[in-house]
Symmetry: none
Subunit: 162 residues, 10 copies
């Protein structure tokens, strides 16, 4: 059994039952819907208690439940550049704004990156008379490049140099 | 003269003067630093009053000032996939989470996209005892696929179907 | 001036003077030689005091000194797959062993990655009668995938589930 | 029967039984877990006694046991560049730091490479109040480029020239 | 002299003078601005009287004036897929909607194409309380596949079969 | 059923029956053999009365008859550059002579193209004592680039400027 | 000196003088304008008397005259697939109709090709009330695949088998 | 049925029967073995009487016999550049010597090509004390580029100019 | 100086002097014209005495003479597939006939190749009332795959097995 | 039946029986093991007596035995560049050392190549206190470029010029 086959099975059941993602993530609960949906689409792991609830909800076998609890080989399944317009917009944001984000994050935080792992993501509908907006709040831990072997007087952990 | 040549000249002056981006965006003002930096890196346009201030700051010629006011051919200059770790993390976020974002945005808003154009971006340092975080708030206007020619009874603008 | 031009100038001076990297990193000091060499090769930033020493050592202009203090656009300049045998061996290690490393790190630590940023690297010559060995010690902070929005009962931060 | 088919069968059994890699490598024993896991994932060979134990553990046929004992055609199955974040971080380390590693290893050891074959790998959890770390110790035999046909006075085996 | 060199010269002069495209196309007149701008960007020909006006406006030599009157080797200079967001949106419209456009045009008109040559294009700002719109009207002559050698009773010129 | 499958079925029947193309196009009639053969090879549409005759001739089902009446997704099935010598010679003619054809057509007709849609094609055997010749007569409607928005005095429709 | 440099020089002179191709081919004469233009664009050879006239017309040096008399390395300089619409239409004709041309030529002539070398080309303006047409007459010698070693009774030279 | 399937069937029968190509081409006769073998490998047509003999020899159906009599879509099935050493040597001869062959053929014959269609090929074993040789004699009709529209005084058919 | 520059210089002199290849190869002599021309076009070496004569003929410097005596990096300079019709025909012969040549050479000679190195090439004009022919005689030494380690009873050197 | 299918069958039997290659090549005998193994992996031919023994050993059908006796289409099945470390090392040797090998072989032997066909290969374990070595002895016949048409005084066969 491959993870792709499990994802396909889950989408078939969702469709069969007429469930929304909201229904599913409410039923599974436990953490942010975006993570639960990502896991059911084969890009994240569900921790054990959630895998158990998900398996009960979808009527999965014990082996399928365990597969949901495995960390998948991530990042397969999205052609890059994305052909889907919704996903492409995010790709474009990175392509156009990447250099400016780099310049400003590095100036504010020093040399390092924003973690894509220790990372929160929240999406909200923002009512707006001119048309509602997708409001996204992300926060990723800043990870300074570690200046290993650094002597005293070297700013610790690459933080901003004033 | 090409836009790349102007970008290189601006970076040379910034380095010569020892200016930070903060110094530059404070001096130019007018709109979000991320846009101003993006424009100086050749990915956005500076509106006229800002182009004037920027030209004064950097000692540019009138033609160079006008070039800053032109919309550049965007998206050149960032290899995709990005080799720089800071930019790559954003790329990875899209590659791994794109499908879940798509599922949830579409369920909440209906069929459409988050605009990458009518789009705000704010970055902030979030103090955190476990390590400060890069907090990003984006909001993009939701642009529903327009169901043009839609008759009555068809939900307007592709919004969520309950 | 581009970073590649600065790297070329530094290598020319090193060759002109007949200096070893050891001589250079001893003179600059401050942190691990592997970081200092990486910075001089255009892949890392030198923090201000080190950039100052390096500039003095190589007789660089103030603008060149500032460029050394900038975070470069990393990852350019190494063709992938590497054609150089020394670098290729590391690439091969990742290609062949990547899946096993993934399986074991995930089982030991839970869902996450080893940071390539908060990362130490130490290389040592290990005398060995059968031929000396390159001993490398790396340690990267384990970054668990953050289960944002997690309720109580969900193992915090993706750590190992027993 | 292909090696890929055997790998998929082994992963199905592991999941069916609910075994961890630790359980499996303890049961098989004999050498480093990273090698045993690599072999079960189709990237290494298991020597005969280990193949025997593995076959008993998984209930494999004699032909499948022998296939585990064969050296596979290595390096298939990992897309390069890796899409999985955990594996990508190692790839990035090589891409960013390769040139500096090359400069320092060559200066310390002379002209040669670190073997990817006569190579030890040990991974350990390093407790750390700021977050545990993945500690990796590798040592690879330094293999100097042999200066074959070298006369007296030529440093033997390409070692460091002082 | 190549057409690319002439285009760059014209853009430099436009910037030097601070002219808008509107100023230029008003001064040159004669036909739709979109064609005149296309010609100045090296993708169309300017007919003689317009080439003469354009040359006077920009102070071009007789040979440069004649080059503007030549049909250029079209279609060079736009990377495909486009990296610029404005151009990409049109590309996306074709990629997503191409098959449906084909189905409907063929059902309405029969077997044929919409000409990209005998083609009008008009762009207008459409005031809209919800946000102005780019209104584009294109009309291309429908070119039915000619059923050459067709006998009587065969619908002429591939038009709709009812 | 795909169009390729229908083509293969038709070729199998042709071979089974021992029919020539001449026999087939005589039986179907209605328009030029080159179009009828093209349609049976999956590159054109047959209008309804011809699709009906063709279906009767080959004993096709009503759905297969309707498929012959559909405009296919054209241009699949010929590798470009062609490996078949007969087709390659035409490709070579375009590659070698394209620029001269462009220069002369544009000088004679003005700015535009020869239509590949409103296009006749006739092939004939031309007896010749030195070896018969393939005589091809094509005529394509000249489609001038439309100078939309053109004022008086601008040569209409891009025609030759004398 | 390369042939490309000679072509660019000739085009510069043509523009400088304001000559049409008709003026040039009338002045050079000797054979079909399409061949003469092709030669001046670097895709054909001019035989000696024509090269002499062309050199006199353009004021070329003896070496340049001799270069016009050389057979060039043909087929360089047209990107395939062509981006220019005029040339693309011919390419499209081959791609769409190649298989039908092959079927019909082979049925009429037997196994062979239409020569692209022993080949005439004539282009004419065909007045037509619905829009003038580009009328092209080509005839290429049919070259039957030679059935070498053929015994009696084998149809000579692959001609049509009745 | 495709031509590839017929080729595989023929090779299976040849192997089953233990026939050599000599046995097969003697039995089929009629023309050069290289053509007959090429046809059975799917690259040429067999004329009717030979297709009949071949069908009898291999026990083919009437439809398969007719397929042997069809001109195949040539040139598929040989990867270019060839991976097989025997075929690669011929490819290499063209790549290395092509320019010299071109220079000498054009000087001897004028502007034109050696036909690959009106072409004989004979292969013979040439006994040689230093090791037998593969002796190949090819002759292809020289096809001069036709100088259509040529006036008197222009050397006919591109032949050598003395 | 590169070999390409030397080739261009030689072609410039040849054109300047108005020499034919025959004149040149007669003057240089020594071996087959096809080799001498190939060497002057940068694809072969001229042995010393010939390099000396060639240098005298073209007035080359001693270093240029020595370059003619070097074995060049062969096979550069011909795009593959060839765009030039004359060279393409040879390429097509290999693509279409390669598999049949392989079958017959192997059946006649056993397992091996025809050498492209120990290889003669002769080209001749063959007068023919139907049009002269390019007659090519090649003979390449047959190189049997050596069955090294072969015992008695194994046919020596892979020769034909009867 | 294809050669790939036969190879997979042979590997399955080898595994089923638990045979080593040594067991197999001893049983088949006749020539060097490296050739026999290559043939069983589908890259060489087995001469008749060996094919007979191999067929007996593996219990193959007469058609399969004959397929082993056929020269396969060589060179398929190894991805280039190789991902397997053992095969990659040889690839690297060629990539890094090719130019030097060329320079020295040509200086010692004159213009020519080392045959990859008339070629011996022997591999041996070389006991070495510092670690046993893979000792490979290859010898390939030097094949001088034949200077066909060479006159007296031209060094025969391209051998070294002193």
């Amino acid at each position: 059994m491959t993870r792709e086959q499990l994802t396909e099975k889950i989408l078939d059941i969702k469709r069969e039952k007429g469930w929304t993602w909201k229904h599913i993530t409410d039923a599974i609960g436990g953490m942010s819907p975006v993570l639960v949906v990502g896991a059911l689409l084969g890009q994240h792991k569900l921790v054990k208690p959630l895998a158990r609830t998900a398996a009960a909800l979808f009527g999965l076998s014990p082996a399928e439940e365990r597969m949901l609890n495995e960390v998948p080989m991530r990042g397969t399944g999205t052609p890059m550049p994305p052909t889907d317009p919704l996903i492409y917009r995010f790709y474009e944001l990175v392509m156009i704004n990447g250099p400016a984000w780099k310049a400003l994050i590095e100036e504010e935080f020093g040399d390092g990156i924003m973690s894509a792992i220790d990372f929160d993501f929240e999406m909200e509908r923002q009512a707006d008379p001119k048309g509602d907006r997708v409001a996204i709040r992300m926060s990723g831990k800043f990870l300074p490049y570690k200046y290993f072997g650094a002597e005293q007087g070297i700013p610790p952990l690459g933080y901003r140099e004033d």
